[in-house]
């Protein structure tokens, strides 16, 4: 994997078909975690909290500065039909430099703040010290993800 790679959890494939996510009206956050765990597509029923198979919030970075517990919101989610694909996109995420920001961010966890079910994760490429400089995740020009008919 490389910096910026976005991976969706296998569990999300089932959750979305059980209407457990509304990718436009719902509230989504990007929680930052340390390298204490390595998420993968197969991570068991990942949650940002108790109640599932894996509670990723237990590896959250230490909140402080411009990073509040739970992580920043992924604002303005949109779902559009583009070229035969349903595309999920949203505003980018930015955290301004602050001396009290967490210093050990390794992964960004995309999760539904309404039910704490995780959607996927972003590889930050290495441990990032947010106290040393501004931090931002800019989604791809094509969006965060798309769903289309299988060939």
């Amino acid at each position: 994997m490389a910096a910026g790679d976005v991976v969706f959890f296998d569990q999300w494939l089932a959750d979305v078909q059980e209407a457990l996510h509304d990718h436009e009206a719902g509230s989504f956050n990007l929680g930052l975690i340390t390298n204490a765990v390595t998420p993968s597509a197969t991570t068991s029923d990942p949650r940002w909290g108790a109640g599932g198979g894996t509670n990723l919030s237990t590896s959250q970075v230490t909140p402080g500065g411009n990073y509040s517990s739970g992580g920043p919101s992924i604002a303005n989610p949109t779902v559009t039909l583009t070229g035969g694909a349903g595309v999920w996109d949203a505003d980018d995420v930015a955290i301004a430099q602050n001396a009290s920001n967490p210093a050990t961010a390794r992964w960004g966890i995309i999760y539904n703040a309404g039910n704490n079910r995780c959607v996927g994760f972003v590889d930050l490429g290495g441990v990032i010290d947010l106290s040393a400089g501004d931090f931002s995740v800019t989604w791809n020009a094509s969006g965060i993800e798309s769903l289309n008919q299988a060939a």
């Binding site: 490389a2 910096a3 910026g4 790679d5 976005v6 991976v7 969706f8 604002a75 303005n76 949109t78 779902v79 559009t80 583009t82 595309v87 996109d89 505003d91 980018d92 996927g120 972003v122 930050l124 490429g125 990032i128 400089g133 501004d134 931090f135 931002s136 995740v137 800019t138 989604w139 791809n140 020009a141 094509s142 969006g143 965060i144 993800e145 798309s146 769903l147 289309n148």
Partner: protein, 65 residues
């Protein structure tokens, strides 16, 4: 299929993203306007306007070369 994001993107990456997101926002604004979701339209319009300002600022820099 998830798409690759940029961590601490370059100016070029930001510019490409702004243009693509503006196109997406216009489609989403049109959809929600038809549905009468005025609150959502206002939120999306604010992001649209912010990104347009970024693009205009970049254009001004180019025009000044």
């Amino acid at each position: 299929m998830p798409y690759k994001a940029s961590i601490n993107p370059t100016a070029d990456q930001k510019a490409l993203r702004n243009i693509a997101r503006i196109k997406t926002l216009r489609a989403a604004i049109e959809k929600h306007a038809v549905r009468g979701n005025t609150e959502k339209v206002a939120e999306l319009q604010a992001e649209h306007d912010r990104r347009m300002e970024d693009v205009q600022a970049l254009k001004a820099e180019l025009d000044a070369l």
